[in-house]
């Protein structure tokens, strides 16, 4: 058996320590050791974006990050998107614009959308579409998702 490693990290603002094998991905640890199953494995190869999280504020596929790489870093997942009992405007708009059907890609799309709006508060339709190109959705044809992101951007710019 491989030796376990102790990793100290901040997940959704909370100081968390976990032990894992060095070959485990961050996605595996989030899901199987920490109970944060909001991030999904759709492919395991970085092609679908269902496992999207941010690492020190940068959008990544958690299936392509070793859990041990999270040592000393800030991890943000879907479970931390809402502020207490207040949903993030993206979350509200995804519901109100019917931007989800089966919902399995939704956590990744929300994280990717937030990463986009954090760096570009006024994206064009094309910028939204390319920023979300790493997140596959098979139900919606993306139409209502792009509308929800646009509506959120507008809302956030007013604040």
């Amino acid at each position: 058996m491989m030796a376990g490693t102790l990793v100290s990290t901040i997940i959704n603002g909370d100081q968390i320590e976990f032990a894992c094998r060095p070959d485990e991905t961050l996605l595996e640890v989030l899901r199987n050791r920490l109970g944060l199953t909001g991030s999904k494995e759709g492919c395991g190869t970085g092609d679908c974006g269902a496992c999207s999280i941010t690492l020190d504020g940068r959008l990544v596929c958690s299936c392509l990050v070793l859990a041990v790489e999270a040592e000393g870093r800030k991890v943000n997942t879907i479970e931390g998107l809402a502020d207490g009992d207040t949903l993030h405007p993206l979350q509200t708009n995804f519901i109100n614009h019917a931007a989800l059907q089966c919902g399995v890609c939704t956590p990744g799309l929300l994280i990717a959308s937030k990463a986009l709006l954090d760096r570009n508060p006024n994206p064009t339709d094309e910028e939204i579409r390319f920023a979300l190109a790493g997140n596959l959705c098979r139900c919606t044809g993306y139409d209502k998702i792009v509308h929800a992101v646009k509506a959120t951007a507008k809302e956030l710019r007013k604040q």
Partner: protein, 753 residues
């Protein structure tokens, strides 16, 4: 009144509005639990060993080393899944597909499985299993498989649907002929005949959530299965039969489903998880990797189709035929039959003949994919329709309108149509601004029609009224894309209460009678009908209690806008009783108030759609870009228009992917070359334009609210709509799907040469 299915026009209050979905919050916060999102105490990790060969005799499987590895709790092969199918050939096919017996029949066919304490141990154990194969000749191409020297995929399969019964096995599993009239005479009467052949490649549903389940079976014969499925009752029945369990002792709970599109209507690996759990006497979690999803679940057929249409110069079709070869994978199916049934369903034809050939090849067992088999047939027919219209100098839409099926038309697959929507969708296409928009340089436009049957089926529903007057629905059809919302709207409508007062729950198999799967676009149609009946059932009870409370005969009580009213002047002093009033008093008026319904929801209305597509093709590279897309479809009645639009858009997007880039690629050894989302190219966000939708509502006469299914038809027209658009701009008829840039390039060059 209670179980009256007849459509009655009414003014809807809840139905047709767009409230937020009840499962929305869970899904935007990551709380919703899908197939892989649950855990059991002491759970093991399951993994499956799969054949790397397209066709091979399994001469020996040595599991002894794997069994001895520390941490391994169970290893199974087909010996652990004995044949209990008792002559049921479909069930035997399912069994053999779950785990290869004497032969591996395709690349990815399961041959053994392990359960271990963790994933690394399970992986290691798989490597310790020694399988001795004798490689057999294989065939993966649908046209190659019917050549006389092709290797026989299933020696037990003799062609069915032909007379007399054949004497030797064949890769043609089934021949299915449909039609009426005299096509030969019809072709003789034609002024112009167009004949063309088409090919389409195999595609996958491409749901983002891989198959996953958590199985727990004990030596007492009781078991539980948590699974991502479109039909937990059917999964229960199938798994219980394969494992020799009592149906009642296996409780199947459906998880949230991360996309199905037909692919989660079939049992693939759940019996393996149950068998591993039974052997280990521990819960076993089994998740497929994306690679396994592509190699070992149920993609579509690849097809090869010959179409012939004869027409008078005045634009009337005199005869039409289609010969459709669809591959079934390694087990017999009905996929070519469905292609043969749907191919000419949009048209009013005097003489029509379609013949489907279901063909076995060494590929995974074909599964249902959204309006299964219809898109490929529509591609062939709708492309030819355009060719015919062009030949006689008629506008393709006018040509379709002239030949469209209508109420009273004898359909190409047999029955006579009631009121249908093909004519209205075509009229809407003609009027749509999309058709008048100016095309830019290097752009072309195409349109096409599509048909799907829709169906209903067995449905069982409970409706319970809580003490505060709120209502719970217990439903047995899995919610794939928002049906909890539409079903809550229907209950609110029928009871006359606000949508927010209704909560819809999907039950496990222990809590309700049998329900068929959520497939065939039946979820909202069937459970909707069942809920209406359950609500009427509850309303009868509510009226009775109001009558008892007032001390008047129940015939004097009516239910209106969520309240019991006493009819007539003599009762005018009686204050109406709301649902809340009656619920609060229920403990003293007879106890709990509930409604129940167990029905076979028949009479699902057929569905038609017409799509318009603009595409840009790079003149130097043949790169394609869909620049505008419009879906026009008959919904019967749109219960929640947002999610009806969502179905239209999602189906169109899948069809666009199928048309342009998605395909299974096998090498000469019969191994799948692209079992991943990198090279199996589903559309990404930047590939698509906004998809415009227009909902038509031609009520289904056989549903109280006029509802038809809406889930599937939208995937039928895109292949042909895009084919017609590409052909428009490239100046060459595209006959091979996907129309990838290399194929378009080659078609253009071949024409130039």
């Amino acid at each position: 009144m209670a179980n009256d299915t007849k459509f009655r026009n009414r003014k809807f209050k809840a139905v047709g509005t767009r409230p937020p979905r009840p499962d929305g919050l869970d899904k935007v916060t990551g709380r919703a639990k899908y197939g892989a999102d649950t855990f059991a105490p002491g759970q093991l990790v399951g993994r499956v060993l799969r054949s790397p060969h397209a066709h091979a005799q399994i001469t020996r499987i040595d599991t002894s080393k794997a069994e001895k590895l520390n941490g391994v709790k169970a290893v199974i092969t087909s010996k652990d899944l004995p044949d209990l199918t008792d002559g049921d050939s479909d069930l035997y096919d399912t069994l053999e597909n779950c785990m290869a017996r004497d032969r591996a029949l395709y690349d990815g066919h399961a041959v053994a499985a392990v359960a271990a304490i963790d994933a690394p141990t399970a992986r290691k154990a798989l490597k310790l299993i020694r399988v001795t194969y004798t490689i057999l000749p294989h065939v993966t191409d649908v046209d190659e498989a019917i050549k006389p020297d092709a290797p026989i995929v299933q020696p037990r399969v003799y062609t069915s649907g032909v007379s007399p019964k054949p004497k030797s096995p064949s890769n043609v599993a089934r021949v299915s002929e449909f039609g009426h009239g005299d096509v030969e005479a019809g072709f003789k009467a034609a002024d112009i005949i167009v004949e063309k052949s088409y090919k389409t490649e195999q595609t996958h549903q491409g749901y983002i959530e891989p198959h996953a389940c958590l199985a727990s079976v004990g030596p007492d014969g009781h078991g539980e299965l948590w699974v991502t499925t479109q039909g937990h009752f059917v999964f229960r029945n199938t798994c219980a039969a394969l494992l020799g369990m009592d149906v009642a002792k296996l409780t199947v709970t459906p998880s949230e489903v991360g996309g199905g599109f037909g692919g989660k209507t079939h049992v693939w690996m759940e019996p393996i998880a149950l068998a591993l759990s039974r052997k280990a006497n521990r819960p076993v979690k089994l998740e497929m990797t994306r690679n396994e999803v592509f190699r070992s679940t149920g993609p579509t057929s690849s097809t090869s189709i010959d179409v012939k249409i004869g027409v008078k110069k005045n634009g009337r079709i005199t005869a039409a035929s289609a010969y459709l070869r669809y591959h079934d994978g390694a087990f017999p199916g009905i996929w070519a039959m469905l292609g043969a049934m749907t191919s000419y369903a949009c048209y009013d034809l005097k003489n029509v003949k379609t013949v489907g050939y279901d063909i076995l090849v060494n590929r995974p067992k074909v599964g249902a994919y959204r309006a299964p088999s219809a898109p490929m047939a529509a591609f062939a027919v709708e492309s030819t329709i355009n060719e015919v219209a062009t030949k006689i100098g008629m506008d393709p839409i006018d040509f379709r309108i002239k030949n469209a099926a209508k109420e009273g038309t004898k359909s190409s697959y047999g029955p006579t149509y009631g009121p249908i929507g093909i004519g209205p969708t075509l009229a809407a296409v003609k009027k749509h601004p999309h058709m008048r928009a100016q095309l830019k340089k290097n752009q072309g436009r195409g349109m096409a029609c599509g048909f799907w049957f829709n169906f209903g089926g067995e449905t069982c529903t409970d409706l319970n009224i809580c003490v505060d007057g709120t209502v719970t629905l217990t439903v047995g059809t899995v919610d794939l894309s928002g049906s909890r919302t539409s079903l809550s709207l229907i209950a609110a409508e029928e009871l006359g209460i606000p949508y927010e007062r209704v909560k819809c729950n999907i039950s496990d198999t222990a809590s309700l009678g049998h329900n068929d799967m959520t497939d065939g676009s039946r979820g909202t149609f069937s459970s909707g009908m069942s809920i209406i009946f359950a609500a009427r059932n509850a309303i009868d009870d509510l009226c009775q209690r109001a009558a008892d409370t007032w001390g008047i005969p129940v015939k004097d009580v009516v239910w209106k806008d969520g309240r019991a009213l006493a009819k007539g002047k003599k009762h005018r002093k009686l204050k109406s009783l709301s649902l809340d009033d009656l619920a609060a008093a229920s403990s003293n008026t007879g106890g709990p108030i509930a409604g129940h319904s167990q029905i076979v929801a028949d009479g699902a209305g057929v569905s038609f759609a017409s799509h318009i597509c603009d595409i840009e093709v790079d003149p130097e590279t043949s790169a394609t870009k869909v620049v505008r897309y419009t879906v026009i479809q008959d919904a019967g009645k749109a219960v929640h228009p947002d999610y009806v639009e969502g179905q239209f858009q999602g189906g169109a997007a899948q069809g666009i992917g199928w048309a342009l880039n998605e395909e299974y690629v096998y090498d000469e050894n019969g191994r799948l070359q692209n079992p991943g989302f990198l090279d199996y190219r589903v559309p990404v966000c930047s590939d698509l334009p906004f998809i415009d939708t227009q909902i038509l509502e031609i009520p289904n006469p056989n549903h109280p609210y006029g509802i038809r299914g809406v889930g599937e038809t939208s995937i039928v027209p895109p292949l042909a709509a895009i084919g017609n658009a590409v052909s428009d701009v490239a100046g060459v008829r595209m006959t091979h799907v996907p129309m990838s840039p290399p194929r378009i390039r080659k078609a253009i060059k071949d024409k130039q040469a």
